[in-house]
């Protein structure tokens, strides 16, 4: 299974890495060898130990066993400062930039060029522009980071790492926040950086990325390295099998619902009305109209998928529908019930279920037990004259934990102690087990491993087939295409395109997602 790579040219060699977090054995004999000047993929499901391995490489954590070699030197247990000095730089998933400083200031932060004890801004700008030209990472050195697009901010983040002299660049899920064209651009940049002699390790669980840009692959499962391969010699199916340990169906399924497939906007045939939104305008945190005059209908037995780059009003739209954000104008109905100004609880009772996009900010009380989290939002149904019915809570927990295969099965544990995938299962179990007509599913598989993704997708399809109306929002175009019966693209607070699944593809949706193409559908609303 493991083909030896690198030999003397390997710049990174990690052997038999062991790492414990308490009783959790995060790395159990993990290995990786990365050749000089290659783009290397480190893949595995969430929780496979990829991030831990890279944190050990970048000095953020010390291994409990095993050895780390960089450039032939034993550096086991080094510190972040030592790692940076040796040219190992990590680009984190969440940007670590100061929004009120300019691009150049951010890049040089911590290593500011100085002339006579004062910050030499001109030199900083000059150096950043030079590096920018060399690497092909085009950034406006004088703009404030707050004004940058997500793609630009990411380039600044990479540039910052290069400025510190990184010769080995670690990228943690870099495409999570990018639109398809931005992703393409990122690949071009990475190739260029690679061509200047930098070694790149890409942490990801998206197989198309692995195929697109990498040369070699290390696959991890349950803390151990289970396969090493050359990208050219494998297939996405082969990688997926190694990741999960069994065959996985990767095809984009287009199984439309039993009712209401591929209808036009506002078309209310088939299964009757689920969710009706009319001329909805919602104020955002910074913009007057985060959602701008949006109208649509989701019929019973239909999944309407909303594609779009994050930050184009999807969050505000879902918050308005779920009652977490006030509505400026327009109306929302569930079935025949007007809920535009109803409280969150009234909406739940009217038949609204909601898988929130961020389970930690909205979905789960991490200190509460699994059992308590499984009734959150329905505490009034699990109490009698104001006193919690603990027996009913426990019975419900036992039922849901079994039905949704939540692990560990002890429902008295705090949700915090569960893995991300199991936390998400708790949310999904709760929202799908209640009595509902309309389901809002926002990023339902974010931070969830491949095995759980399949399960969650199946669950959503079953709910759809059972006649539920589902509004799906996902940053993963693939997910939208795999689940939705109709696809809408949100850009700048508007629905700029609505098409049936049959017409939707990455190529068709891409231009709308970036705003390159504007709606011809507004009249249809």
């Amino acid at each position: 299974m493991t083909a030896s790579v690198g030999g003397p040219t390997a710049v990174v060699r990690m052997n038999g890495i062991q790492k414990y977090f308490g009783a959790v054995h995060a790395n159990r004999g993990a290995e990786i060898e990365v050749g000089a000047g290659e783009i290397h993929a480190l893949v595995g499901e969430n929780g496979a130990g990829k991030s831990t391995l890279m944190k050990i490489l970048s000095g953020m954590q010390a291994p409990d066993g095993g050895g780390v070699e960089v450039g032939g030197r034993d550096v086991t247990g080094w510190t972040t400062a030592q790692a940076i000095a040796a040219g190992v730089g990590m680009v984190h998933q969440h940007f670590m930039l100061v929004p009120t400083l300019t691009v150049a200031e951010n890049v040089v932060l911590g290593r500011e060029p100085v002339s006579v004890a004062t910050f030499d801004r001109d030199r900083a700008i000059r150096e950043v522009e030079e590096l920018s030209k060399q690497s092909g990472l085009i950034v406006p050195a004088n703009r404030l980071v707050a004004d940058l697009s997500v793609g630009e901010a990411q380039r600044v983040e990479i540039l910052k790492t290069l400025y510190r002299g990184a010769r080995i660049l670690l990228l943690d899920e870099p495409t999570a926040v990018l639109s398809p064209p931005e992703v393409t651009e990122l690949w071009a940049v990475l190739r260029r950086v690679r061509d200047t002699g930098t070694t790149i390790i890409l942490i990801t669980h998206k197989l198309d990325e692995v195929m697109a840009v990498t040369e070699r692959i290390t696959v991890m499962r349950q803390g151990a390295t289970v396969a090493r391969m050359a990208t050219r010699a494998t297939t996405p199916e082969g990688i997926a099998k190694a990741m999960v340990g069994r065959d996985v169906d990767l095809s984009v399924q287009t199984s439309a619902g039993s009712v209401g497939r591929g209808k036009g906007l506002g078309d209310e045939g088939g299964g009757g009305t689920g969710l009706t939104v009319r001329n909805l305008t919602v104020r955002g945190a910074r913009v007057e109209k985060a959602v701008n005059d949006v109208s649509f209908t989701v019929s019973a037995g239909e999944i309407l998928g909303i594609a779009g780059v994050e930050g184009n009003g999807q969050t505000e739209l879902l918050e308005a529908i779920s009652g977490l954000r006030g509505v400026t104008s327009g109306s929302i109905r569930i079935g025949d019930r007007e809920i535009t100004h109803a409280s969150v609880r009234e909406r739940g009772d009217a038949g609204l279920s909601h898988i929130p996009e961020d389970r930690h900010q909205r979905g789960l009380i991490l200190e509460y037990s699994v059992a308590d989290n499984l009734i959150l939002g329905q505490q009034h149904r699990f109490s009698r004259s104001g006193v919690m019915d603990r027996a009913a809570v426990a019975t419900n927990a036992a039922k849901q934990v079994a039905a949704f295969d939540v692990r560990p099965t002890d429902a008295s544990l705090a949700v915090r102690t569960l893995s991300g995938g199991n936390q998400q299962k708790v949310v999904i179990a709760r929202e799908l087990s209640r009595d509902f007509i309309v389901l809002l599913a926002a990023q339902p598989t974010r931070g969830v491993d491949v095995g759980a993704i399949e399960f969650i997708h199946d669950t959503l399809r079953k709910a759809r087939d059972a006649g539920k109306a589902i509004l799906l929002v996902s940053a993963e175009l693939r997910e939208v295409l795999s689940l939705a019966d109709r696809v809408a693209v949100m850009y700048g607070g508007r629905f700029v395109a609505v098409m049936s699944r049959a017409d939707a593809s990455e190529d068709a949706l891409g231009p709308y997602m970036t705003g390159a193409r504007k709606a011809e559908t507004e009249s249809a609303a």
């Binding site: 977090f21 009783a23 959790v24 104001g386």
Partner: protein
């Protein structure tokens, strides 16, 4: 991770800070006592004898702990809802005043079975009303409760001072006339051993209140929602909880509990309201809540601890200045507030050193929880 280890971790988390605080207090107390040229052993012994060594001392400790349990629980309940109530001092005074007003308003000879509950209800009401102001301001206008509760202290205490001084005092004093009805008997009148100590049946009232609050927090829907708001307001809102209303309710409840503490002094000890009786007890409540980890049971234990220090200060006054105790109280607070994560890291390091070379042995449960928190989503699915 099994259920028992989780429970052990919770227990460890609850017990470790007070134990560490106690150790720190002993060490620094030793140094202070030595600085006065006295033998630490003798002073500590005297302190123990003067508090837990005889019925009178125990009675005094219980009396002081009764008030502190109220202010401590008041702070703890607010913190459970994510609010910092600095105003327990004013709420305690207002509660005592309310009890006195009710006791003065009732005709003399009203049977205790009626008068005492009426006076207690007045104490709850007055304390609750004082705390409801910051609650409403927070919910309606987003005014920060820390600022408002601090300001309310000044307003309430000054107002009460004015009312007493200008309208209600017995000449030459700063206290009201004795109440006509509603006083609570001292325990000493039933159990002679306690004779002379201020402990009274309020301790039972407060004990019941503590149990009721524990039940409210951990068994009722309102408590479920209150704790949810305190832990993650965004999630609570998503779960259909009216966050603003929960804040108002929590602060009103908090104030009512602080107000209940006034009963101990006014009805149980003096029989009248005296200006300044609350002095310090409100602020010490913050320390009690902190050391008691915001748990009703922990609050009771912490209240007993601080009451012991306070009463012990009187006992050792002959050998060392009783202000030493105030220094120690401050150190307890600092130790709990600041040193705990440090100490835990040290403990963990020691555990790590023991474990080095045998990576398969079990780590401490606290460590495990902490690791789970740090690693978040990166943990493997079980």
């Amino acid at each position: 991770m099994s259920d028992t280890t989780a429970r052990r971790a919770a227990l460890e988390e609850a017990l470790l800070p007070p134990i560490v605080a106690l150790a720190v207090v002993l060490v620094i107390g030793d140094l202070l006592i030595l600085a006065y040229g006295e033998a630490p052993g003798a002073v500590w012994r005297l302190m123990l004898e003067g508090t837990w060594g005889n019925a009178y001392g125990i009675g005094q400790v219980l009396y002081k702990a009764t008030t502190l349990a109220c202010t401590g629980l008041a702070v703890a309940v607010a913190l459970r809802a994510g609010l910092f109530n600095i105003g327990a001092e004013g709420q305690l005074a207002a509660g005592g005043f309310g009890a006195a007003i009710a006791g003065l308003a009732l005709p003399a000879g009203t049977p205790s079975i009626i008068a005492t509950p009426v006076c207690i209800a007045a104490a709850l009401l007055f304390g609750g009303m004082v705390a409801a102001v910051p609650g409403v301001l927070r919910a309606k206008f987003g005014a920060h409760e820390v600022i408002v509760t601090i300001m309310m202290n000044f307003i309430v205490l000054a107002l009460l001072n004015y009312v007493i001084a200008a309208h209600l005092h017995v000449p030459e004093t700063l206290h009201t006339p004795s109440v006509h009805a509603g006083t609570i008997e001292r325990i000493g009148s039933v159990i002679p051993a306690f004779h002379g100590s201020a402990v009274n049946w309020s301790v039972v009232v407060v004990g019941t209140a503590v149990s009721a609050v524990a039940w409210y927090l951990f068994r009722t829907r309102a408590g479920f929602e209150l704790r949810a708001v305190g832990l993650q307001p965004g999630v609570a809102e998503y779960g259909g909880v009216n966050v603003s209303r929960t804040w108002m309710r929590a602060l009103a409840l908090s104030g009512a509990i602080a107000g209940l503490g006034g009963v101990n002094f006014v009805l149980g000890y003096k029989g009248y309201y005296e200006d300044g009786f609350a002095g310090g007890a409100g602020f010490l409540g913050i320390a009690v809540a902190l050391v008691g980890r915001n748990h009703p049971l922990g609050v009771v234990i912490a209240a007993l601890f601080f009451a012991t220090l306070s009463q012990g200060g009187l006992a050792i006054n002959a050998m060392v200045p009783k202000q030493i105790v105030e220094v120690l109280q401050g150190i307890v607070i600092l130790a709990v507030a600041a040193s705990v994560p440090e100490v835990r890291r040290l403990v963990r390091k020691a555990a790590g050193a023991r474990r080095s070379g045998m990576p398969t042995s079990m780590p401490t449960a606290t460590e495990e929880l902490r690791a789970a928190r740090m690693s978040g989503d990166q943990r493997p699915s079980a």
